[in-house]
Subunit: 416 residues, 2 copies
Amino acid sequence: MTPRAAVVVTGSELVRGGRRDANGPFLAAELTNRGLEPDRITIVGDEPDELETALREGLQGDLLVISGGLGPTHDDRTVELLARAAGLEATVDPELERDIEQISRRIAERFRRPYAEFEQGVRKQATVPEGGRVIGIAGTAPGLVVETDGAVAVVLPGPPPELRRLWQAALEDEAVQRVLARAEPPHRRILRVYGVSESAVARALAEVGGEPEGVQATICAHDGEIWVELFGEGEALAVAMRQALAPSVFAEDDRPVEELVLEEARAQGITVATAESCTGGLVAARLTSVAGASDVFRGGLVAYENDVKLSQLNVPEETLAAHGAVSAETAAAMAAGARESLGADVAVAVTGVAGPGGGTREKPVGLVYLHASGPEGERARELLLPGDREAVRRRATAAALHLVRELLARSRHNSV
Amino acid sequence: MTPRAAVVVTGSELVRGGRRDANGPFLAAELTNRGLEPDRITIVGDEPDELETALREGLQGDLLVISGGLGPTHDDRTVELLARAAGLEATVDPELERDIEQISRRIAERFRRPYAEFEQGVRKQATVPEGGRVIGIAGTAPGLVVETDGAVAVVLPGPPPELRRLWQAALEDEAVQRVLARAEPPHRRILRVYGVSESAVARALAEVGGEPEGVQATICAHDGEIWVELFGEGEALAVAMRQALAPSVFAEDDRPVEELVLEEARAQGITVATAESCTGGLVAARLTSVAGASDVFRGGLVAYENDVKLSQLNVPEETLAAHGAVSAETAAAMAAGARESLGADVAVAVTGVAGPGGGTREKPVGLVYLHASGPEGERARELLLPGDREAVRRRATAAALHLVRELLARSRHNSV
């Protein structure tokens, strides 16, 4: 039988909604990729009963991964409650205590505080359930692997970079590996489609005969892209869907569109620039989020004010006067101007009404014009995007990146 | 006794880690602000047993809010399983069926499909647990309030904008209001501090005598800011902490720093521009995320390539040659150049090494120079930020916004 996994994330700010948890999704993806899709992710505060219940439930499976609650103060109770839920004693590990003491003495020195202030916290953080193994220390908090009657628990610190680092260490642990060895990493295929609706994709799936026995297909919209994920032995279905949906299929992996754009531009030896109004820098920010973007991306202009469009992007005053800042003509002029002033081969421009104010009858909130311009041609698009300011900006950003992707795909096609 | 609340979020992509849930945090904040901090947020997939268990647990409290699982297909099981968990019959609501049919016929027409294909889905989505009240329809999915033996369940659709809209409708429901009336909205105060460490704030709290009876204080880092939140009758403690931490306290509400910057600039009649290298547009994107930014923010330059810094920001070639692109001198020149070429009163510049590549012994990954320049003076900062590319960029962005905030606060001070 496939082993069962659960994730428990603790943090009082999380149940108050003050912060969006990143650790649950990270751990869920890590587990799913190893064939151990978690039954649930439970987010609890620092209320002891709730946390203990969540841990107890998690221990009913085979692998429980816990994030947070490892600090030096009394309201960080993960280790104590895990021991209680598992029916294990928790005692101070002398070697671990020495390690944490050393770190804490350095901190005490740096802040010119007497070490005595830290002593209680050090003992608390050096307390480990019976048989627990230390897999590393983050700050002064140890990551642990604890074997209980029937389950393996992995205890990780809350700060995401530390959690990720110690999760790698947990994967080296023998008990964790024993559970993972019983799981089978899923056969997962993905087809990413752009420019068709979710229901059209669903119809295509039905028309090729739907899910065969043993294959699970999910269809999900991601910011304008439609993702078709096939779990199980989906090779034949993938072939059929690829055929049914071509030429809208643009990728068969998870990489974000900005990465695909940069890769294609790099392959063609083309440089890229941006000119943005309503997206306010988001297109440039996504392109530069990719390591190594600098060999393709030259720069971008956020032209919020009209006279910045005039002076920096050389948008003709007549164009603005005749068609307005939110128009296909202005978008085209912005793209041309960005190519010139930023010295790039290809530029993409965005102008639109992000809202909530500024909409008119003719140019309502959500109206966005995109224009991509390159040495081998132009590509333009008009969109009417639903949602609030954040959603309009996010969707316009994704659409702009896809427009560049399409332009680059065409120029590759032409040059072949 | 204070009523108890829980949130259940369902979606198979969420337990696979493919997507980060936004509904749980939204609902948690909504409940917390009304004095009903949820015991837990449970995220489950579409596995029926898991979902039913989570619903059953949630019904043990007084208010259960559920997100997702309302679609027309068989794997959307929220209503069916809620009815089962609550021991209620679920039957087709004829009036609701007519409403959903109407919507579905329009969809069928638009996609030129026979309505028969929709019929089963319509019946499914019109199925309501005994006594359930329809609070609105999102797409073809109804939002519901269901009273069970001892609890009230609110069923909301998964897409965040629709969830938010129908949550407002749920707040109008009498049964929901009865539960809320028994809760007392928390007395919450917040002090936001910048430029001091989390441990220094903790020390300040200890030195003013710690938490008095009935007051809970939490200290939390948010991208360089330290948030001190006081729950309960914390007026005296707030006064003492404000005194102990002044002048580092910069805000006593939750508004993001970009909003504070825009507000202050607006009050002073000052326009703002940005010049970014490693943050690649994120500073501009945060400033323009605020509705109405256009009356203060003129524009920004993302100068990724050195020759864009030269041509668009007039950074002297000698400055780049002598000090390099990542230097205090280049940051200062970028800020001056942005003021000039974008015609703004104040500009902030960021240049740094975001990583993972590009670091050297002298200029390691995480080294960032910030410079803010205005008519009444300059402000500069050198940072060595921990974390990966994303974290360095995010933290540098926050720090840049704070630098402008500080510059504006000083010019206000000077002009008084």
